[in-house]
Symmetry: none
Subunit: 402 residues, 2 copies
């Protein structure tokens, strides 16, 4: 019996509201020995007040030592075991640019590359061609025509773009990469690893044949490889596993896309945190669960900009009263992973997590900070359990067994 | 390799004694913001003394957010993974009233219901008929005669009673509920979900046919439904998995029944906590492990009576010196789940747990309280691991691997 078997069996209806605020990459590190983390350095009176009334914990996104990408980090917060539900790379890339995959689609990450006169790869990334040059080339590939196949080509960034294949009856995605992961050798042909994916491999081969002609005039990006063939992941919905009508309020396409994969509605088109809170207010009556994503704690961490990350945390703190004014029965503040400015990257460190409800068991901790969270009443817990805690605190989970 | 594979392989014989005191529903919540829990409010000098000498922890009965019933809560404390060993509802109901199930028995929860003139259910609980009226009716059903089948009918409470079917060669319990979970429709027939349960379904159908005749004169309880068909659960015994001769000293039938399912002997017929301690003393030489169950921390919690729960905790504290006087090598005090008076129900909150032995590693905590237990040396742990900790501290578990 897994966690979703339990929540499916035990969830009960209620009128309570749950708000999960995800400050991307929230956890941090001191920039120097003996120093404070970004969260500890930030002035966060409202989050500290919530920490005093609520319960803290240290959330492990995946397993100790494992740094997650955005996909598995969010799946875990959404209660989907990130080691069981794996989103294929092509599907994640498509999701990240806001492409709405349909059942039966196959999404493929593509890299422009350079072929030499003998047809061998001389540069696997076409000299890391700039986005301004590569985007029009990706769009040029929209001229590829294959009977019976609907083809979408979407620029991403630099040498990267996405191809999505759609055909009546659906396609299967078990096809090998054409990138040989080496230079001085020719690209590989797309090879299906099962009978069901044979057609996809044939379509991909025809796409590559036409693409080579369309790109023949290019000095650098005169071909491309295909990687991470992936079908749309099959994730059970929030409504089915939790009985929750869920809304996602995010600025960036990746997080809207991840939320859509678990059946959340994408609410509005916020550009700022204030827009997001406005949308939270205006959609309050229509949903039981709200996922509110704040990107900039991650991007400042990735930039290695400690003071900017501190400022972003304080910006988030400042809107907490507006969220609390809505009186959600359960208010959670957490992150999908840590992004310490010191490391300039996602990391494996536990994520400070705060849960406030009328029936959480408060612990003695009074500051929202990494050092307090490791002593908190939620203990060190796997992020995938946050949703069952949210449901329980919202009075939305019945008893297991008599 | 699961936990029992390990304990089976590693347990060694010793003369040490383990006492596990289970204060049912021990964990609590403050009744008002900033307040203390029941355990924190109680004066518990003896438990605090043990806490100072021993090691504390926060026990998760099932998984974060999951509130257990008594069955899974106790199975976890006994070291049986509650998600792996699931006791069928009929078997738990029979266990709860002290019925000793045998291998091959099928136990069924029955509800008196009301049929209208068309044979449709007009009330699924026969107007929640009072126990005084329903018990004689259940006993009337003992007149049902089916050749080759031994039938037991036992009243439970209000509209509920239990039927146990026993036949040479044994019966299988994979039969669907006859309760349609709706009114205005007729009850369902008992349908077997496999060939082995075919005979059980036929016996159940004949029971229902005769029951309808026996109840025909009743205005409200003129029929009954059958639910939760279940065989006796097959649980390995304490002797086999731990090498322990185990005794259960409990007042209420449910806890005696659960202990019997894992092969414990039921010792005596205590009516009070003092009786229980007397029995602990008098049976000390005959057993290695003692499960001592204290009900009233749960029932006062269920009643929402905070001061009464505090008083019951203090009552338990007062007998600790008598238990300690027996010098058990390992003394554990815990609960099967939390029952905060604030919630008037079982809850998901971690359970304060204390383990004292000559070789536990004491932590700096000196009070038996939720706030101390979350910082204790046992950490936050799944309750199913408590038995391996008990065995280790009792010198009853060898080394894994060389």
């Amino acid at each position: 019996m897994d966690l979703h078997d339990l929540t499916r069996q035990l969830h009960i209806s209620a009128t309570s509201k749950i708000v999960m605020v995800v400050a991307d990459g929230l956890g941090g590190l001191p920039n120097e020995p003996g120093g404070k983390t970004e969260l500890e350095a930030a002035r966060t009176p409202h989050l500290d007040d919530l920490a005093a009334r609520g319960v803290l914990g240290a959330s492990l996104p995946i397993l100790p030592g494992i740094s997650p990408g955005s996909g598995p980090g969010h799946l875990a917060l959404f209660g989907y075991d990130p080691l069981q539900f794996v989103i294929g790379r092509g599907a994640l890339e498509a999701t990240g640019i806001g492409f709405e995959l349909q059942d039966g689609d196959v999404a493929i990450r593509c890299n422009f590359c350079t072929l030499d006169a003998d047809g061998n790869i001389s540069d696997r990334r076409a000299g890391r061609i700039a986005t301004e040059a590569s985007a029009p080339l990706a769009m040029r590939l929209r001229d590829v025509q294959i009977p019976g196949v609907e083809i979408f080509v979407e620029p991403v960034r630099e040498h990267r773009f996405v191809v999505v294949l759609r055909a009546a009856g659906g396609l299967a995605g078990n096809v090998r990469d054409t990138d040989p992961q080496a230079t001085g050798v020719p690209p590989l042909d797309p090879v299906a690893d099962d009978q069901a994916s044979q057609r996809t491999a044939e379509i991909a081969a025809e796409f590559l044949r036409q693409a080579k002609l369309l790109l023949a005039d290019q000095p650098k990006a005169n071909f491309h490889t295909m990687r991470g063939f992936a079908e749309k992941p099959q994730l059970p919905s929030y409504l089915e596993v939790y009985g929750l009508r869920a809304a996602a309020i995010a600025v960036y396409p990746m997080y809207k896309g991840l939320a859509r994969l678990v059946g959340m509605d994408i609410v509005g088109d916020a550009q700022t945190l204030d827009d997001q809170i406005d949308l939270l207010q205006s959609s309050w009556k229509n949903y039981d669960f709200f996922f509110l994503h704040f990107k900039y704690t991650d991007s400042t961490g990735e930039d290695g900009n400690f003071p900017a990350k501190v400022e972003r945390i304080e910006q988030l703190d400042a809107v907490m009263p507006r969220i609390q004014a809505l009186n959600p029965e359960v208010l959670i503040v957490t992150g999908d992973h840590s992004t310490p400015a010191y490391l300039k990257s996602h990391s494996w460190h536990p994520v400070p997590t705060l849960l406030a409800s009328h029936c959480c068991r408060p612990d003695p901790e009074t500051q929202f900070a990494e050092s307090a969270c490791i002593r908190g009443g939620l203990g060190h817990f796997e992020a995938k359990y946050l949703m069952s805690l949210a449901l329980a605190n919202a009075g939305r989970l019945g008893k297991f067994g008599a």
